[in-house]
Symmetry: C2
Subunit: 190 residues, 2 copies
């Protein structure tokens, strides 16, 4: 996700927005965003109608990258259980980074407290896609109730990411993967 001098003002703004909102929260001001991106406020408002729209676009832009990070590399040969475990293993690995602040989509939802905000809509969609992935894998793995198991796994993922992001929990001993595994066992997954 490195930016270069050749990146367009739009790209530079979206990168700066993604970084700053993640590190400091959605209350970061337009001035700080423009300064970080090296773009004038006037140019910013030519590209985006509002800060809200820029926040939503920055979340949308990173989604493909985020999902790639969480998807098992050997997807063809991996079992459903391995694919689900992989998501939690990646979470555990990411959370060891001192810069980790939790799942960016959940954080935005918690901070905005407004399901109708354009950025909340993008964030919710990202979370729904993860839940769908869990449901699909749970179904392929023979879970008795794939939808219910997927919802349980989302509680664990979001609880683990929020607690690790807030630095009140460490996942480096496999806590999240272990919890997910206990629930897959209880849910009858192969």
């Amino acid at each position: 996700m490195a930016t270069t001098d050749k990146a367009s003002p739009r790209d530079r703004l979206l990168e700066a927005a993604a970084d700053l909102f993640y590190r400091e929260g959605v209350s970061v001001g337009v001035e700080a965003l423009c300064r970080s991106a090296g773009v004038s406020k006037r140019s910013m408002y030519q590209l985006f109608d509002s800060k809200e729209e820029m926040l939503a676009a920055s979340l949308e832009r990173r989604r493909a990258w985020y999902e790639t990070q969480l998807t098992h590399a050997e997807d063809a040969s991996a079992t459903p259980r391995e694919r689900i475990r992989y998501v939690f293993e990646r979470l555990e690995k990411s959370s060891g980074n001192p810069e980790y602040r939790g799942c960016p989509y959940l954080a935005v939802l918690v901070e905005l407290k407004d399901p109708g905000h354009p950025a909340s809509v993008v964030a919710r969609d990202a979370k729904d896609r993860m839940e769908s992935y869990f449901r699909e894998q749970a179904g392929q793995g023979g879970a008795a109730d794939p939808a219910g198991l997927a919802r349980q796994l989302m509680l664990v993922f979001d609880g683990a990411s929020a607690r690790a992001g807030a630095h009140i929990e460490h996942l480096d001993d496999g806590l999240a993967t272990g919890t997910a595994t206990a629930l897959m066992d209880a849910g009858g997954m192969a």
Copy 2:
């Protein structure tokens, strides 16, 4: 937690702070807080050194009430499993309120992104106390690893409260209690 006209400026400020920070987030300004409390900014700064200190004090003040809400009423006769289930049942009940915005302590930690902030310290302490309660109950209930089970239950509690607070999950079908119960079973609790 109703305030009356006889409440002191300090009490009115702490109530307003708890309400507004919960509903709108930690970026609520001092002016809005003072207006809501009916207290001048000058008076506020005579009572609190900073907005940060006021936020921390408002969280601290509600903690006893919050913990009472989550503690089983028939504590003497309840089994450890019933006491843990009760915490999740209360969460599920609270989350049905349209005003529900998740656990106030987790939300503050996610929003501040600063473990050293005075309000983060209070919030972390509240979360640690809940984890201790789970650990104690898990131990009394014969769990193989009470500390590990308590950490798992915290993932579920915080994931459920964050997702319900963000209105991307409904807990009214017993999702949180069911997940906690599956983990208590897996953890060997009576």
